[in-house]
C-alpha cells in the first residue's frame, strides 16, 4: 500500500472514530442526563443574561467571575454558551452544546497530540478511539459543564507546544493563548496549568531558551491573560470558594482534637504525630491515592450522583490490562515524551487531591488526556504480545476479552441511558429533576396568587424559574438578591415578582392567605391538611412516581 493510500486509510478511520464520538456526545443530549442540574441552569441563564443585556444576573457588566449561587463560577463556559443560546434559544440543548462540541473536537486533538508524541498513527488512532468511548469523558461532555472545555484547551496547548518545539516556535503563541484561556475555564486549572507549564519548561527549557524572542512573547501573552484574574482571585467570593472547597477550610471536629490531646497529655506525641502538617499531608496523600485506586476508577466510581454512572467506575474493566501495559512501557522507555505523559498523569489529580471530596472525577478531569495515550500504548504493547501467543491460548484470551469488552460497553449503554437517570434524579446532589415540570405547572397559574413560595430543600429553585420562564434578565437584575440559609451552604435567590424562594415553615406558612406553597412531601402530611385553610391543587412527580412537590393553595 503506498503512502497516499495509507494516509487516506488513516483519515477514513479517524473520521469514523470522530463520528462515533460525536454521536455518543449528541445522542439524546437534551434528555440524558435526565434534567439540567443547577450548575447548568446557572451557566445557561447567565449566558442568556449576557446575551440580552451584557450583564450577569446581578447586573455586573461582562464579569470575569460569576457570583451565581455563591459559588463564583469561572466565565469561559458562560461566554461559550452565548452564541449557542443565541442560535438555539435557552434550553437544555443549547446549554450542553459547547461541552459536547468541544468534547467531540478533543478526539481530533488527542489524535494529533498522540501522533506528535509517539510518531505512530496506530497509537494516535487508538487514543482517539478510547477518548471517543470513554465513560469519564462522556459523562461530562454531555453536561453543560466547564471541564470538557478545559481539557480541550489543555490538549490544544500541549499539541501546539510540541509543534512549536518540532516545527515552528511561533506555535508557542497558541499554546500561551490556550493555557491562558484555560485559566478562565475551571478552578482546578488555575492550579494545574501553572504546574503543567513548569513541567514543560523543565523538560524542554533548552529548546525554549534557544528561541528567546518567541518564548518571551508567548510568556507575555500568557501573563496578559492572567492579569485580569489577579484581583478577582483575592475577592471575598473567591476566597470563600477556596475555603469551602479545599482542605484549607477543613478542620477536624473539636471533640476529636480534644480527645487526642487528652490521651497524649504531658507528652510530645501530640505535637509530633497529630500536628497540622502530618494531618493535612495524610489527607492529601489519601485523596491523591484514590485517583489511582481500582475501586474508584473501575468499580464504584464517585459517591456524587451527578458524576457517577451507576454500577461502574470512570473507566471500563477492559481498560485495566491496557493501562498496566501502557504504564509499564512508560517506566521502561527513557523517552522524554513518554516521561512527559507519565508526569502529566501524576500531576493531573493534584488539584482534586487538595479538595475535601475523597474522589471527584470532575476536578481530576485532566487525567483523561494522559490516560487515553497510555491506554493506546498499552494496547499496542499487549497486541504484540497477544500475536505471539499459541493459537489455543489466543482463542481463549480472545473470547474472554471480547466478552469483557461487549459486557462493559453494553452495560455502559444501559446504565447511562436508562438506569443512572432513574437513580440520580433527586436533589442538589443529583440532577435535580422536577423543576422543569414544576415551572410548567406554576407558570400557568402564577398570576392567581399574591405570593408563590417555593421551598428550597432540593436547592436552587430560583434559577430554574428564571431559566424555564426565560425571565427577562434586565428585570431580574433589579431584583436579584442572594440569601444564605445555613453556614457553608450555597446561596438561594431570594425571589422575583411574586415568587419567594426559601425554606417553608408549614406551621406558620399555612396561615398565609391566597398563597401558593410549593413544598416537598416530607414537609407536610397531605392527609392532615384539612379543607378550610389549605388544599393540594397539583403535584409534580419524580420518574419513579414519588411525589417531588405538592402545590398547595392557601385561603
Amino acid at each position: 500500500m503506498n503512502k497516499f493510500n495509507l494516509i487516506k486509510h488513516e483519515i477514513l478511520i479517524l473520521i469514523l472514530i470522530f463520528s462515533i464520538g460525536v454521536f455518543l456526545r449528541f445522542f439524546l443530549l437534551s434528555k440524558v442526563p435526565i434534567s439540567l442540574n443547577w450548575d447548568e441552569a446557572t451557566f445557561g441563564y447567565n449566558a442568556y443574561s449576557i446575551l440580552k443585556t451584557g450583564r450577569d444576573e446581578y447586573g455586573s457588566f461582562l464579569p470575569l467571575i460569576f457570583k451565581s449561587i455563591g459559588d463564583y463560577k469561572n466565565p469561559l463556559m458562560v461566554y461559550l454558551m452565548v452564541p449557542s443560546i443565541a442560535v438555539f434559544g435557552l434550553n437544555e440543548f443549547s446549554v450542553r452544546l459547547p461541552s459536547a462540541l468541544l468534547g467531540s473536537l478533543s478526539i481530533l486533538i488527542i489524535y494529533l497530540l498522540t501522533k506528535r508524541l509517539t510518531n505512530k498513527s496506530n497509537i494516535a488512532l487508538l487514543s482517539a478511539s478510547f477518548l471517543a468511548i470513554s465513560p469519564w469523558h462522556l459523562q461530562f461532555s454531555r453536561a453543560g459543564l466547564e471541564i470538557p472545555v478545559s481539557l480541550f484547551l489543555t490538549l490544544t496547548a500541549i499539541y501546539f507546544f510540541i509543534l512549536s518545539i518540532e516545527k515552528n516556535m511561533k506555535f508557542l503563541y497558541i499554546t500561551a493563548l490556550a493555557f491562558g484561556l484555560g485559566l478562565y475555564s475551571y478552578y482546578s486549572d488555575r492550579f494545574f496549568i501553572p504546574m503543567m507549564i513548569t513541567v514543560l519548561f523543565i523538560l524542554f527549557y533548552k529548546q525554549l531558551l534557544s528561541h528567546l524572542k518567541e518564548f518571551i512573547i508567548a510568556s507575555l501573552i500568557f501573563f496578559l491573560l492572567t492579569v485580569p484574574l489577579i484581583l478577582p482571585f483575592f475577592s471575598h467570593g473567591s476566597q470563600n470558594k477556596i475555603l469551602n472547597t479545599t482542605l484549607l477550610g477543613y478542620h477536624p471536629p473539636l471533640s476529636y482534637i480534644n480527645q487526642l490531646k487528652k490521651e497524649d497529655s504531658g507528652t510530645v506525641f501530640y505535637s509530633l504525630f497529630h500536628n497540622d502538617f502530618v494531618f493535612y499531608s495524610w489527607l492529601i496523600l489519601e485523596r491523591y491515592g484514590n485517583y489511582f485506586s481500582p475501586g474508584y476508577m473501575f468499580v464504584k466510581g464517585p459517591p456524587d450522583n451527578r458524576q457517577r454512572i451507576f454500577g461502574m467506575g470512570m473507566m471500563y474493566f477492559f481498560d485495566l490490562p491496557l493501562l498496566l501495559g501502557g504504564l509499564y512501557l512508560l517506566f521502561k522507555k527513557r523517552d522524554k515524551r513518554l516521561q512527559f505523559i507519565l508526569i502529566w498523569l501524576l500531576i493531573a489529580p493534584l488539584p482534586a487531591a487538595i479538595t475535601r471530596d475523597e474522589f471527584h472525577p470532575r476536578r481530576a478531569f485532566e487525567m483523561i488526556g494522559p490516560l487515553m495515550v497510555i491506554l493506546a500504548l498499552g494496547t499496542d504493547l499487549l497486541w504484540n504480545k497477544f500475536s505471539r501467543l499459541k493459537r489455543s491460548t489466543k482463542i481463549v484470551v480472545g473470547i474472554i476479552y471480547t466478552y469483557l469488552i461487549g459486557y462493559c460497553l453494553g452495560f455502559y449503554f444501559f446504565s447511562y441511558y436508562i438506569l443512572t437517570p432513574l437513580k440520580t434524579f433527586k436533589g442538589s446532589g443529583g440532577w435535580q429533576y422536577g423543576y422543569k415540570q414544576l415551572v410548567q405547572k406554576v407558570s400557568k397559574i402564577q398570576n392567581e396568587y399574591s405570593k408563590i413560595i417555593v421551598d428550597t430543600e432540593y436547592q436552587g429553585p430560583y434559577i430554574y424559574f428564571l431559566f424555564y420562564e426565560k425571565y427577562p434578565p434586565q428585570k431580574y437584575q433589579t431584583q436579584a438578591e442572594l440569601v444564605y440559609y445555613c453556614q457553608g451552604c450555597l446561596g438561594e435567590g431570594a425571589g422575583f415578582d411574586n415568587f419567594v424562594f426559601r425554606p417553608i415553615d408549614w406551621i406558620a406558612d399555612r396561615n398565609l392567605k391566597n398563597v401558593l406553597l410549593v413544598i416537598p412531601p416530607d414537609k407536610i402530611d397531605p392527609n392532615a391538611l384539612g379543607t378550610n385553610r389549605a388544599k393540594i391543587i397539583d403535584k409534580v412527580y419524580f420518574p419513579n412516581q414519588e411525589v417531588a412537590f405538592y402545590l398547595v393553595k392557601t385561603f
Binding site: 509530633l272 489519601e286 491515592g289 468499580v299 464504584k300 485495566l320 444501559f414 438506569l419
Partner: protein, 216 residues
Amino acid sequence: MKVTLIIALIFVCISPWFLVLVRNYRTDTFSFTDLVKLNENIDELNLEQTQLRDAHLGKTSRPIVNKYNNYLKSLLGRYLESFDTSFLFFHGDIDLQWSTQTAGALYLSFLPMILVGLFILIESYKNIRSKTVIWILLISPIPAAFIKPHYQTLIRIPFLLVLTYIAAVGFIWLLKKRRLITVLLLILLIFEIAQFGHDLIRHYPRRLENQGQSFQ
C-alpha cells in the same frame, strides 16, 4: 535471595496488619463469614431489569444485565479491592478488629519499594522466581473475591506477604542504586512505624472500646 527474605520478614513483622493481628489474636476470631452468592443483590437486579423492560430494552439487555454477570462483576470488584490504596496504605480493613483504620495494611513508604520491585520482577519475567512471584501476586487476591465482607484482611494475608516480598526486592535495588531515596524512605518508614505504634498503644484501644471490643 536470603537477604531479600530477611528484609521481607522484617517488613512483615513491622507491618500494621501483622501488629494488629498479633495484638488482637484469638483462636475464635478466625472464621470467614459469608461467601458472595449468585443471588446477591437480587432485589436490586430485579428492579434494574424491570426498569430496562419498561424502556423496551428487556430482551436486548438480558445478555448483559443478569445475575451471572452481576456475580462476576461482584467478584472482580472484590478482587480489585485488594489493590485499593485506601486498603493497602491508608485505612486497611473496615473492621476495627483487624485495622486501626488510621493506617493501611502496609506503610505508605512501602509503595515506592513495591513499584520498583514490581518493575524489576516484570523486567526479569523470564526468570522462574520472578514469574512465580508475579503469578502469586495475581492469584493470591482471588480467595478474597469470594468473601462477602469488603477489605477483609485475614483472607488477604498471602497477598500482603507477597507484596511485602516485592517491597523487599525494591528496597534492595534502591539501596544499591539510589542511596538518597532509600535514606528518605527509611526516615519516612521510621516515622510511620513510630506514629502507628503510638496510635496502636494510645488511641486505638479507646476506639475499640467505643465499638464494644477490647481483645485484651
